[in-house]
C-alpha cells in the first residue's frame, strides 16, 4: 500500500509536471522593443573577462604582454580610488588569462588595500585570501570566480551605503582597462571579428549618462573620461559596417591615455 501510494504520488507529480511543460507558451518571434522601452533596465555592464574570453577564442593572444605590474599611485579621492579599483580587478582577469600566479596574488593584495581606502575593506578580506589560495593552486576557474565575487562585494557594500556612483566608477574603471587591452590586441593583429567586439554603443551611452549625473565629484579626470567617451562613440557606433583598423588604433590611444591618468597622479 505504501509503495502504491508512493507510485501514485509520483505519477501525479509527473502528470502535473508534463502538463506544465505542455502549457509552456511559445515565445513570440518578434517583439516591439520600443513598446517595452519604459520597462527596460539599464544595460548590464559585462565583466572584463567576458570580452577577454571571446577575444581568446580568436586565437593568438599572448596575454603575458598585457599583464600590468604597476601598482598605481595612492589616491585619497574616493572617485579616483573607485576607478583604479575597477582597473586593478580587470588587471586580475588579464593575469588569470596569462596564468601569472605571482601577479594575481599581488593584485589580490592591491584590491584589498584599495577597498580599505574606500571604506569597504571588510567585505573584501575573505575574497583576497581566496584569490591568493586559488592562485597558489593555479586554479584559474576559482580565481576568476573570486575576482567576480570581489567586484560584486565591493559594489554591494558601496550600494548599501548609498555610494552607487562610486560603484558605477568601479565598473567604468574595469571597462576602460578592458577596452584598452582589447584594442591593443586587435590593433596588433587586426581582424574584423576582433574589432567587432568593440561594438558596445549602449554601454558608452550608459557610462556617459552616469558620468553626467556626478557633477559633485568635480574631478578633471572624470571630465576627461566623459569627453573621451564622446570621442569614442562615433568610432564604434558604426551600425552594420565594420570597425576599421584606424578606429581601433584611435580607441586604443584614447583608452591608454585614460588608463595612465587613472593609475598615475597628474
Amino acid at each position: 500500500m505504501i509503495l502504491f501510494a508512493k507510485i501514485s504520488k509520483l505519477s501525479v507529480a509527473l502528470v502535473a509536471g508534463l502538463s506544465l511543460w505542455a502549457q509552456a507558451a511559445e515565445a513570440p518571434k518578434h517583439v516591439d522593443i520600443k513598446q517595452l522601452s519604459k520597462k527596460v533596465d539599464d544595460v548590464v555592464v559585462p565583466l572584463p573577462n567576458e570580452v577577454f574570453g571571446a577575444l581568446n577564442k580568436l586565437g593568438g593572444v599572448n596575454w603575458r604582454e598585457y599583464v600590468r605590474n604597476d601598482k598605481g599611485s595612492n589616491f585619497t579621492e574616493r572617485p579616483r580610488i573607485a576607478l583604479l579599483l575597477g582597473a586593478v580587478i580587470a588587471d586580475g582577469f588579464i593575469a588569470v588569462q596569462a596564468e601569472d600566479a605571482p601577479t594575481v596574488k599581488e593584485i589580490g593584495a592591491r584590491v584589498l588595500a584599495l577597498a580599505k581606502g574606500i571604506g569597504v575593506g571588510g567585505s573584501i578580506t575573505p575574497h583576497a585570501k581566496a584569490i591568493t589560495d586559488a592562485a597558489d593552486k593555479r586554479n584559474w576557474v576559482a580565481v576568476r570566480s573570486e575576482l567576480d565575487r570581489t567586484q560584486n562585494s565591493v559594489q554591494q557594500a558601496m550600494n548599501e551605503v548609498h555610494d552607487e556612483k562610486l560603484s558605477q566608477l568601479v565598473s567604468l574603471g574595469g571597462w576602460l582597462r578592458g577596452t584598452e587591452v582589447l584594442t591593443a590586441v586587435v590593433n596588433k593583429r587586426y581582424s574584423e571579428e576582433g574589432a567587432e567586439l568593440l561594438h558596445q554603443p549602449d554601454l558608452l551611452v550608459y557610462f556617459e549618462n552616469k558620468l553626467q549625473s556626478m557633477p559633485e565629484y568635480n574631478l578633471r579626470l572624470l571630465l576627461d573620461i566623459h569627453a573621451a567617451l564622446l570621442e569614442v562613440k562615433p568610432l564604434i557606433d558604426t551600425g552594420d559596417a565594420q570597425i576599421s583598423p584606424a578606429a581601433v588604433k584611435k580607441i586604443n590611444e584614447i583608452t591608454t591615455r585614460l588608463g595612465d591618468a587613472i593609475t598615475k597622479k597628474s
Binding site: 511543460w21 517583439v31 516591439d32 522593443i33 570580452v51 571571446a54 559594489q155 571579428e193 567586439l197 549602449d202
Partner: protein, 149 residues
C-alpha cells in the same frame, strides 16, 4: 491628543512598518536569486561561469520586464530565471536589438524556473525579457542570473 501628535504617531507607525517590511522584501528577491542559481548549477559543470551579480524585482501576472544586455560574438550564454513562488510559472526569452527572437531551441520552462540559451551571431545589445505567466501572488519576486563560456 493634538493634531501634530496624531501626525507624528501616524508617521512613526508608517516608518516602523517600512523598516519592518524592508528586510522581508529584500529576502524574497534573494530567495528568488537562490532559485535562479539552483537552475544554473548544472551548467557550471559544463564550463559556464555564472556571474555573481543578478537582476531582480517583482512583477504582476502577465507583466514583462526587459533587461538590456551586452553580448559578445564568440561567447555562449545561458540566462536563468527563478522565483520563490513555487506555484508560479515564469519565462525568459532573448531578443536582438530589432526585437527578433534569437535564442537557441533548447531553452526551457519548468514552473518557477526557466532558462534561455543564446550563441550571439553579432556583438551588441540584446534584450532579455522575463515574464510571470502565472502566479497565485499579486506581485511575484523574480531574479535573473546569467553565465557564459
Amino acid at each position: 491628543m493634538t493634531p501634530s501628535f496624531q501626525i507624528f504617531r501616524r508617521v512613526s507607525l508608517a516608518l516602523v512598518c517600512v523598516v519592518a517590511l524592508a528586510p522581508v522584501t529584500r529576502a524574497s528577491v534573494d530567495d528568488a536569486q537562490s532559485f535562479a542559481l539552483q537552475a544554473a548549477e548544472p551548467y557550471v559543470k559544463d564550463g559556464f561561469q555564472v556571474r555573481e551579480d543578478y537582476w531582480g524585482g517583482d512583477l504582476g501576472v502577465a507583466e514583462k520586464k526587459a533587461v538590456r544586455q551586452q553580448l559578445f560574438k564568440g561567447n555562449e550564454y545561458w540566462f536563468w530565471l527563478g522565483t520563490e513562488v513555487e506555484a508560479a510559472k515564469v519565462s525568459v526569452h532573448v531578443y536582438d536589438a530589432d526585437g527578433k527572437l534569437v535564442e537557441q531551441p533548447d531553452g526551457w520552462q519548468k514552473g518557477h524556473f526557466a532558462g534561455a540559451h543564446i550563441i550571439p551571431k553579432n556583438t551588441g545589445s540584446y534584450f532579455v525579457i522575463v515574464e510571470i505567466e502565472q502566479s497565485p501572488e499579486e506581485r511575484t519576486h523574480w531574479a535573473l542570473v546569467y553565465g557564459f563560456r
